[in-house]
C-alpha cells in the first residue's frame, strides 16, 4: 500500500496548559501518538493538526526534537479548528500529520551566539530551538532571549521563563506600564535596541507579529547584523502542507514545504505576499 500523505495519525492530548486567558487565549497541548513514538522532526517544523469534523490547522511544534516523549503545540485561539482545540481536554483525540517545512538550520549555528527575539505566540517556534540549544549547551556560544507581549498576562510559558533566567539572560517587555512590572516597558524592537545584543559571531532568530518582525529586523540591522544572520518564520493560510493546494506561496516558494523558516537574506528576495 502506498503512503497516504493526507491520512493523519491519531494523537491523544496528554496535557493541556492554559498559557494566556482573556480575549486572545493561548493553550499549550502535549500530544502523544496512539500508534507509536512521535515522528522525528527539526526545530521550526510544523504539523497539521485535525479536529475531526472541524478541519485541519498548521501549528508549529514548540517542543525540542531531542525530547521524544510528546509533541507540544502552543495554540492561539483564532479560527474554527483552533477554537475547537481550545475546548479539548487531556484524553481527547486529534489527528496529526507531518512534520512539514524546512526548520531552522541549528546544526549550522553550532559555535555561534544566538539571540532569540519573540513577540506573543511567536515564542512557540522559538521555544523548540531554545530548548534544543539548552540541551546541547556546550555546542553554542552565548544565548539570550528578548521576549515581549501586549501585557504581562499575554506572555506565554511564564513559569518556564522564570526558570530560564537561571540559565541565560532573559529580557522581557510589555507594551504599556503595569503596576509591579520591573522589566522593560515598550515594544520588542525597542527592547532589542535597549539591550544591544552583539552581532559578532551571532545569529538572531525572531518570530512574532509581522509588524514586530519588520521593526526587529530594522533594529538588528542598526546593531550591525547582516541579512544572513537574521532568521524568521512566515505564516500563510495552508491546507495540504505539502506544496500542492496552491495557497501559501510567496513567489515560487510554498511556505508549507519550502518555509516557514527564512533568513532575511532569502526572504527579501521574495515578493512581499504574506
Amino acid at each position: 500500500m502506498e503512503h497516504n500523505v493526507y491520512l493523519p495519525r491519531i494523537g491523544q492530548i496528554v496535557e493541556v496548559k492554559e498559557e494566556v486567558k482573556g480575549a486572545r487565549p493561548i493553550k499549550s497541548f502535549r500530544v502523544q501518538l496512539l500508534d507509536g513514538p512521535i515522528f522525528p522532526f527539526r526545530c521550526g517544523q510544523c504539523a497539521m493538526l485535525s479536529v475531526f469534523g472541524k478541519g485541519e490547522s498548521m501549528i508549529s511544534i514548540s517542543s525540542s526534537p531531542l525530547q521524544t516523549d510528546y509533541l507540544q503545540f502552543s495554540v492561539l485561539k483564532m479560527g474554527r479548528v483552533t477554537s475547537a482545540l481550545h475546548e479539548m481536554e487531556p484524553g481527547d483525540l486529534i489527528g496529526v500529520r507531518g512534520p512539514y517545512g524546512n526548520g531552522f538550520p541549528v546544526e549550522k549555528w553550532k559555535g555561534k551566539n544566538i539571540v532569540f527575539i519573540g513577540g506573543g505566540i511567536g515564542l512557540a517556534p522559538i521555544w523548540s530551538v531554545l530548548q534544543t540549544t539548552l540541551l546541547q549547551r556546550a555546542d553554542y556560544g552565548e544565548l539570550c532571549l528578548i521576549y515581549g507581549a501586549r501585557t504581562s498576562h499575554d506572555l506565554v510559558f511564564r513559569q518556564e521563563l522564570t526558570d530560564l533566567k537561571a540559565q541565560i539572560p532573559v529580557h522581557l517587555s510589555i507594551d504599556v506600564a503595569e503596576p509591579g512590572w520591573s522589566e522593560f516597558v515598550g515594544f520588542v524592537p525597542q527592547n532589542v535596541l535597549d539591550k544591544k545584543p552583539s552581532a559578532v559571531n551571532s545569529i538572531a532568530v525572531t518570530c512574532g507579529p509581522p509588524i514586530m518582525i519588520k521593526f526587529v529586523i530594522m533594529a538588528l540591522k542598526d546593531l550591525g547584523f547582516e541579512d544572513s544572520q537574521i532568521y524568521t518564520t512566515v505564516e500563510n493560510k495552508m491546507k495540504c502542507g505539502i506544496g500542492k493546494c496552491g495557497r501559501c506561496n510567496i513567489g515560487h516558494h510554498y511556505v508549507c514545504k519550502d518555509g516557514p523558516v527564512y533568513s532575511w537574506a532569502e526572504l527579501k528576495q521574495l515578493p512581499q505576499e504574506y
Binding site: 493526507y6 478541519g55 496552491g246 504574506y274
Partner: protein, 327 residues
Amino acid sequence: MKVFFPKKEAFGWTLTEAAADGAIPSDYSYAVVPPKKLIFPQEEIFFEFQQTADEGLQLRETLPELPPQVIVGVRPCDGRAVAALDQVFSGSFEDPYYWRRRRATILVGLACNTPPSNNCFCSSLEGSPSSEEGLDVLLTDLGDRYYVRGLTEKGKELIRAQSSLFSDPTEEEKKLRNKISQEGAQKIKRHLEAARELPPKLKTMFDSPFWEEAALSCIRCGICTYLCPTCHCFDINDETRALAPLKGRRVRTWDTCQFPDFTMHSSGHNPRPNKAARLRQRLLHKFLYFVELYDRFQCVGCGRCLDLCPVGIDIIEVLSKARNHGA
C-alpha cells in the same frame, strides 16, 4: 474498463461514460470541463471518520479503487496539461489519490485538424495541434479512418488488444497525416509572441500598477481556474454527517486563487487582498513560478479561459501588454 467519449450537451461538449462505437463526431471541439476531472476530480473523499464510545476514533481510508478508464478525444493541449499536473502531484510528497486515478487512465488523444476554438494558442506555448506529450495514443482524423500512434506502453497495449481493427499505415497515409498536422498548426489564429521572454519580465512586475488595470473588469467568478486544464489548487474540508456519535468525512474539492477566502488568514489578514493581487497570482503562477519550478509554462494555450470568461478578460492580450509594459 470504462470508456469516456465526447458528447454534446446544451452547454458544450463533455467527456461522458459511453460505449465507444463509431467515430468522434466531426463537430467536436473540446470538452468544456477538461479531462483533469477524471484524474483530479472536483470532489475526492480522502477518508471517513467516526468516533464512538466503544470503538474510539476510527479513520477509514477511501483511496479510489477503479477499473482502467480510457478517455477518448483528449485534445493535445489537454494531454500536455495532464503532464503538467503529473509534476505537481509527484515529488517528495506523492499524492496517492491522484496517482491511483492517473495510473488507471489511458488518454487517447485527437489531433486538431482545425483549432477547436478561435482562441487556441497552443503553438505559442511549446505545444502543437498534434503534440503527443501526456497522451497514450494519438488519433489523427484522415476523413474516413484514423491515423493511430501508440505512444506509451499502455497505449500500445490497447492497440494490440484490438489488433484486428488496425493495419500498418501506407506511405500515402503517413504523408496525409503529416500534411493534416501542418495545416492544423497553420490554422491557429491567436499567437502569444516570444513566450519565453515573459518570465524574466513578469519577475520585475510584482509591484506594478499594471495588475490593477488588468483586473478591473474581473468579477472573480473563478471560471478561468475551475475549467483550466492545468489548475490544481484545492481545498480540504471536513463534512460532518452526525455529531453524537461523530461521523463525517474529509473531502478535497477544487478551489481557486480568484476567491478572497483562498488566502485569508483566520485573523482576517489577507496577503492577496484584492482582485489585482489575485489576477497577478494566476498569471505569475502560470508564466513565472511554474517555469521557475518545472521549466515549463502552466498554460497549454487551450483557449478555455478566453472563451468562457464572462467579462472577456483575454490572457493573450494581458500578457502581451505585460511584456510591453513600461517599454
